[in-house]
Symmetry: D2
Subunit: 253 residues, 4 copies
């Protein structure tokens, strides 16, 4: 019984800071480093990688749409070829900076709108998978359970990781309840830990209609943009470990 804890980091830009990289690093096991398209810049990428290295956290690439003003959260109709090239470039940039810092990249997790678009579209998922395979076929590709990203990735021989959200309400079909719906985000630490432990031990979650839903769960995503995210992450990690779960980076033996 083991689980990976991942969070997005390195999303600050120039004078603009966002997220709680330093606070999260003591609790997470995998850091998704932004590559400068939806967030991050050349210096931020490097700083995030150094921070992860010193904290013993595994590094992944977090490629996004080229939309800094929208933080990569606005869907853009990019072609499959554009998506492939965008992802390949971002993989190359972050992995190369990591290599210069003595770090080998472990995984890839698409960001925001790209993540959600590729979850639904086999074409976009294929573009991402092609980019990953062209760059380094040993990288682990993160995606939503049941998403096209996981299906296509697996089909193409990539190692994939299913990601769950302990702080979000689920529909009975296994999809997330929209953030706009009251109660969609769970911020009570106790509830959070109980849900996380259940996700890991039983591979289930209780949906909003009370039904029990099965879920693949290789990694739990922690959102770094909520106030107190660092504390919540620490609480979650301790809760999981107290319940006998091994918290370990996905790529570690």
């Amino acid at each position: 019984m083991r689980i990976d804890l991942n969070a997005d980091v390195g999303e600050s830009f120039g004078p603009y800071t966002i997220g709680q990289d330093a606070e999260l690093m003591s609790s997470i096991t995998s850091a998704n480093v932004a590559a400068g398209f939806h967030g991050g810049d050349a210096s931020t990428v490097r700083a995030a990688i150094r921070l992860a290295r010193t904290s013993g956290v595994s590094v992944g690439v977090h490629p996004g749409l080229p939309d800094l003003a929208g933080f990569g959260r606005r869907e853009m109709r990019v072609s499959a070829a554009e998506a492939e090239d965008l992802v390949l470039y971002q993989l190359a940039a972050v992995a190369g900076v990591a290599r210069a810092e003595g770090v080998t990249v472990q995984h890839v997790k698409p960001h925001g709108a790209l993540y959600h678009m590729a979850a639904r579209s086999a074409e976009l998922a294929g573009a991402i998978v092609r980019a990953v395979k062209a760059f380094d076929a040993s990288l682990i590709l993160f995606g939503l359970p049941g998403s096209e990203v996981l299906k296509v990735g697996r089909g193409q021989g990539l190692r994939v990781a299913a990601e769950v959200f302990a702080d979000r309400a689920y529909q009975s079909d296994g999809s997330l309840v929209s953030r706009l719906v009251p109660g969609a985000v769970i911020d009570d630490p106790g509830t959070l830990v109980r849900r996380a432990v259940r996700m890991v031990k039983d591979r289930t979650v209780v949906a909003v209609d009370g039904g029990v839903v099965g879920l693949e769960a290789d990694s739990i995503c922690i959102h770094g943009d909520t106030p107190g995210a660092g504390l919540l992450a620490a609480h979650l990690r301790r809760g999981l470990e107290d319940a006998g779960v091994t918290v370990k980076a996905i790529g570690e033996r």
Copy 2:
């Protein structure tokens, strides 16, 4: 008696095309691929690398200042730390895309204002050299003869290449005559070839005051942004070969 011919490529951006990449590729031996900061984008980088590969041209990284509107030609007061991170990121991006295309990067040539600022500043030259060494100490660093880039690069154990301009008038101290001075740019094909051959065979150039100036010359830079650049490059290559000069990529045995 051998020489490398280099040109900047991959500087188009989205719908905007610039340069004559395809025309140049049949004549040059080293292509400096822009990395998306002063020019270029994720798809352009990849296309330029593919074109170089098919043309048998060696690939280098052409990092610039983050100033697309100014094409990296406006000096910006970046700190040494910023310059190091900017160059490292761009090295990583282009070299990683190249690797995905089965291409090993040969060299690094800073672009525009970064090139000229680092020629004069030991601090900036040091930043660039640190980035190159951190990323891949086997890369060949291009710079002006007598520049801080070559001095610091050599001092730090990098292989360097001195670059000359067959189409530009020189001062008696070995520096270039400003483009704003009439006669500073040489566009007569015959004169161009004669100057190039002399640069390679005698390692000298006749300055504007008639004096003879000694010059290191490992590579001749060809400007791709002048009309007819492709034809001029072909003419130059043939002229050099007719004079018994071997035209070969700098990194080739």
Copy 3:
């Protein structure tokens, strides 16, 4: 019997040139000046306005999505509030530069994906109309015949202009045939003129299935990004005038 001829101008960016602004100015009556989001920059905006003024061409604002790499042609899921603010800012920028050049802006024509998204979405059309009314309710709003933009604009008391494409094939429902379909773009000058004259005189076009479709036609759009666009525009204008049509800016008495 009169018609306006409009074209997009001022879409170059820094060192990157696109379009044939100078060639078009002698034939068109209304120039849609890009505002720096999908194309254009501070200097290009001003140069395009000066060129229009000297050529006696009326000036409009051509606001687009903030996507230079995609030239504003990739749909982005912007909210209505974002769209309103984006359009207002671009109206302000171009109209203010125009005022400094002694030019009063005549019209607004959204660009690319924003144009097409707002044609279908009453919500986005409403956002654009709010921006125009907040800035200057006397501006004429351009849109596709039958589009939400024209409907909402009219409903909100704006003066609107229906725009037709003499160089594009039409479906029997009055919509354009996709550019990807062979034959969708008409480049024979004679056919172009005949279609344009018919659009103006009869307010009809022959659709691809042979049927005759009625069309509002206040302005004919000329694409500036095709080779020979300047010549084609001159040919079109002469053809219209020879057929007795008055070619005049939409806002002129």
Copy 4:
């Protein structure tokens, strides 16, 4: 005896927040609204103007260099023509959005590196002055006492305002001590108020060498990027008013 209190606002970008706009608005009399080049975006500009309007604060334009990653603080070698166009565009954008919000712009204060470069360069100062005059010759131009901006502005018939920094140490020649020198930034509220009152009442400041320096002082700049800036601004305003100084926007009668 009156003084204006100004602060930079509207410098947030997309998801990235910076500054303490809301906290400052209850104390300042003039708000310098960023225009989207060094900071700010279309929605931020509008929100800052609305906030100023509701707070009864006068609005100015805060044009900067096109360098979001460097927050407009890195010097860039822009030509005078480029600077003129950049400033004109930003004036147009902010003033036009303000007009749509029923607000008439009062002043212009260049930002960061542009401010300091133009303080020293008559050529750049001239470019800024030309842009202001072309757009609206009634705008008040802010600058350092003794700067080229004030000299050229006055010489060209603009109304100008000399700006002082109550929280910064001064040299005996009236220039600021670099922020890098310990003690250059004054954060003790009592000292701050005493210096400000003296600047306004005596038009003098005690320099670091103990000498008394004369200073024009039409407006005091409040930095919004220090923690507690809102409280400090409130303290400063109250201190000035308690000392019998009228705190009023520069453009008010």
